[in-house]
């Protein structure tokens, strides 16, 4: 029963996965372009963001069409609602990639104040989390989703490390302030990317259980020293 609808739901998920891989690729390219200080490739990432936005709107339209024509309930409704949320997160993730590409254009060909080590590490972590989060959605795997969300702490730790390191550079030699600040923005974009992946994990749990809960409650900021 409802075979056509089941196929539509499957297709919706496939489209979402396609958007996910476009986003992962955008992020990988943006960091790669930064490492190689490749302006051409950075501009390409920025241009490509339009395609990602269009894809997101197309999926959103499909969701609305299915809601209007099929009047989904229960798990079907939760799946479609989750896809709507996830594509929004994915679209924002793509903005972080475009953001990194813009920063690369700002840095230009100016030599790096230090080799990039932790930024590529954050990238690897982000991509791996994104990949597995989308797989957890496909598999409706709540345990995996919870584990992946917990890995956000690792990304935060890398971010803190970069932060401290760059601060040290800036204190030592004020001439590095401009580039160090820009690299800090790059790291910040990568850190936010992982937060968005955590949102995707929340949607996996919601789709399966109907439970809506924040997974990474941020500890209140420490008092300024």
């Amino acid at each position: 029963m409802r075979r056509a609808f089941d196929e539509d739901l499957q297709e919706l998920q496939n489209q979402m996965l396609e958007l996910g891989s476009m986003v992962g690729e955008a992020l990988a390219r943006s960091v790669d372009a930064l490492k190689r200080q490749d302006m051409q490739a950075s501009r390409e990432v920025i241009r490509n963001d339009m395609k990602i936005n269009e894809k997101r709107f197309a999926i959103e339209a499909d969701c609305l069409r299915l809601i209007a024509t099929q009047q989904p309930m229960a798990r079907d409704l939760r799946s479609i609602a989750a896809v709507l949320e996830i594509i929004t997160d994915l679209e924002r993730c793509a903005d972080y990639a475009a953001g990194i590409a813009k920063i690369t254009l700002m840095i230009g060909k100016e030599p790096f104040i230090k080799p990039l080590i932790d930024i590529p590490r954050m990238l690897e972590k982000d991509l791996s989390m994104l990949d597995r989060a989308l797989k957890a959605f496909v598999d409706r795997d709540v345990d995996a989703a919870r584990r992946i969300a917990a890995e956000d702490d690792d990304v935060d730790a890398l971010y803190d490390q970069i932060n401290n390191e760059l601060l040290a550079f800036m204190l030592q030699d004020p001439r590095t302030v401009r580039q160090a600040t820009r690299l800090l923005w790059v790291a910040h974009n990568l850190e936010r990317f992982a937060d968005r992946v955590t949102n995707i994990c929340e949607r996996v749990v919601f789709t399966v259980t109907g439970e809506m809960r924040e997974m990474n409650i941020q500890e209140p900021e420490e008092e300024p020293q």
């Binding site: 029963m1 229960a74 798990r75 409704l77 259980t209």
Partner: protein
């Protein structure tokens, strides 16, 4: 939750050999809409009729268990059945206006109960028609024949006719099954007004309707009460797999 308006306690019912309800226990809260839904043949209509003792004359009908209204067993010997039907009104799937005018349809019950005061009757006509979300459409033609109304208006007139007796509970069996979407929306609108004052129990004509109006919903399958939940929950996150399959249209 305060004391339920109606308590259904371990009710089973059979037509001859055919068991249609099995050990149903269900509390129906006052001033809320409780929806009884599920595939055909699940026993919903029978349960609705039992709450009004409409099955008393069914040959071969056998009921066990108890149904309490405000804590009182409505099947106890000597229970006032006409009084029960004044307190518990029923609206059926097919609107059947009485021959006569719109006004006469609404005043029929109160007049039968002995009310003659013209001013009081006028008051009842206006109040009942307002509660049924029909007043604005018919206030200028109360003395025209009820048969001239559209299907949706006729059904709301039947609701008004039940309300004229100032019941405490309103039972509705697929009241919008023959109506177009606009009339359906108007009947649903009137139900949402009524729940502020009455206890409403309804067998809806679709899952979508159930989801729109239910404060509480009970899913029936082959004579069994599978799941009873607040409406907000059962249509988004049902607990039982059978409920899930039914509300998502995977069977039924």
């Amino acid at each position: 939750m305060s004391e339920p308006k109606i308590q259904i306690q371990d009710v089973s019912y059979a037509y001859g050999d055919q068991q249609v309800l099995r050990n149903i226990t269900l509390d129906i809260p006052a001033r809320a809409i409780t929806v009884l839904f599920g595939p055909a043949g699940g026993g919903k209509t029978t349960l609705l009729r039992l709450m009004n003792r409409l099955n008393d004359l069914v040959e071969d009908g056998r009921m066990t268990g108890r149904i309490l209204l405000d804590g009182e067993d409505i099947y106890a010997p000597g229970f006032d059945v006409p009084g029960l039907r004044r307190r518990v009104g029923m609206v059926f799937a097919l609107p059947l206006p009485l021959p006569g005018t719109i006004r006469e349809n609404v005043t029929y019950g109160p007049k039968l109960a002995g009310l003659r005061d013209r001013a009081r009757l006028d008051e009842i006509v206006e109040r009942s028609l307002r509660q049924a979300a029909l007043w604005d459409e018919v206030k200028d033609r109360l003395d025209s024949p009820a048969n001239a109304l559209s299907g949706g208006q006729q059904q709301r007139l039947c609701i008004a006719r039940s309300l004229a007796l100032e019941p405490e509970v309103l039972l509705l069996d697929e009241p919008t099954s023959g109506l177009d979407p606009i009339s359906t929306a108007k009947v649903e609108e009137s139900l949402l007004i009524l729940r502020e004052q009455y206890t409403v129990v309804i067998v809806p004509h679709s899952v979508q309707q159930a989801s729109r109006i239910a404060d509480y919903a009970a899913f029936f399958l082959m004579g069994e009460l599978v799941e009873h939940q607040p409406g907000k929950r059962i249509f988004t996150t049902p607990v039982d797999k059978r409920t899930e399959d039914y509300v998502t249209g995977r069977f039924g």
